[in-house]
């Protein structure tokens, strides 16, 4: 078998190749040594076949194109690793393998839950700003931005204004809260679109 040093004449190409192989090994580390090496071999063969097909004399560029077409190992290997771990766990009944598979599987779900929760909190905040703007004319004394006695600030709707607190903005809180509500809503919604695009890219496989 060729060693990496035989594959390329440009040292930087060898560096890029080795870095990508390390990424593959890192992404497949929950697998057994045998499965991990088998996967690496298959991906190396794919990558090098693509590299050979690329036109041009610059090895670095050809390799970079091949790597770009191959995709990020963390993204495309994770479902494969999860599948293999579950299959292995079912075959061997090894709790450690089953646990590793579950953790990997859940990590994607957990990320989604955390991100969704953050967006949820953001939208609630946007609604809260809107409420401040709407309720200020009806309850000018208890709605607004308050400077508290201890040096802290409170923005919102209070049951009763604490002793020593002073309302700072008056009716200026209305445009300010409205602007913040709109800004937050726009930023979050734009962010949501980006997330959806990323999710599609991640799911670019089947």
């Amino acid at each position: 078998m060729n060693t990496t040093n035989d594959l390329f004449t440009e040292p930087h190409a060898t560096t890029i190749w080795n870095r990508y192989c390390d990424q593959v090994l890192h992404a497949s580390r929950p697998l057994s040594e045998h499965d991990s090496q088998a996967l690496l071999l298959e991906i190396k063969d794919h990558l090098y076949s693509n590299f050979e097909q690329q036109k041009g004399s610059n090895e670095v560029t050809r390799l970079q194109v091949a790597i770009e077409q191959m995709g990020n190992p963390d993204e495309f290997i994770r479902p494969l690793v999860t599948d293999l771990l579950f299959a292995d766990a079912a075959r061997t009944l090894n709790p450690r393998t089953a646990f590793s598979g579950l953790v990997l599987h859940l990590s994607r779900g957990l990320k989604a839950v955390i991100v969704s929760s953050l967006f949820g909190v953001g939208y609630l905040l946007s609604v809260a700003f809107l409420l401040v703007a709407v309720l200020k004319p009806f309850s000018p004394d208890t709605v607004g931005l308050f400077a508290n006695a201890g040096g802290s600030f409170t923005l919102g709707i209070l049951d009763a204004v604490p002793k020593g607190s002073t309302e700072l903005l008056g009716y200026w809180v209305i445009p300010l809260s409205l602007a913040l509500a709109i800004l937050l809503y726009v930023v979050l919604t734009k962010g949501l679109r980006v997330l959806r695009t990323n999710k599609k890219e991640l799911k670019s496989g089947p």
Binding site: H46, G71, D83, G205
Partner: protein, 114 residues
């Protein structure tokens, strides 16, 4: 989003949705290694995905008993893993083909009435 972009996205999703079917069709009569299979899929079916994504899918098809694989040593270079369809894979593919034809007929009927 303009109409062309929407159609392009929709078309891409439709193609990705039949990725399993396309893989089985490609290896129905020939064995392929990963890169070769991906080229064929891209050329014929115009499915534009990150090439690495084919490996989780091939692994799943193998686990389902629809494809099998074997390593072949090359005279020079790295060993290569070839995929071929199994008997169960052929039976599944036959069913998929029928479903696809039925689906196309249904859509054609809708198109005629639209």
């Amino acid at each position: 989003m303009d109409t062309d972009t929407k159609i392009t996205k929709w078309e891409s999703q439709v193609r990705k949705g039949v990725f399993d079917f396309v893989i089985l069709l490609c290896i129905e009569d020939e064995t392929f290694y990963g890169y070769e299979l991906m080229r064929r899929i891209k050329d014929i079916a115009k499915i534009d995905v990150a090439e690495g994504t084919i490996y989780p899918l091939l692994n799943r098809l193998a686990k389902e008993g629809l494809v099998t694989s074997k390593w072949v040593e090359k005279e020079s270079g790295m060993p290569r893993k070839y995929y071929q369809i199994t008997t169960q894979g052929r039976q599944t593919l036959a069913g998929m083909k029928q479903s696809w034809r039925d689906f196309c007929i249904s859509i054609d009927q809708l198109l005629e009435h639209s």
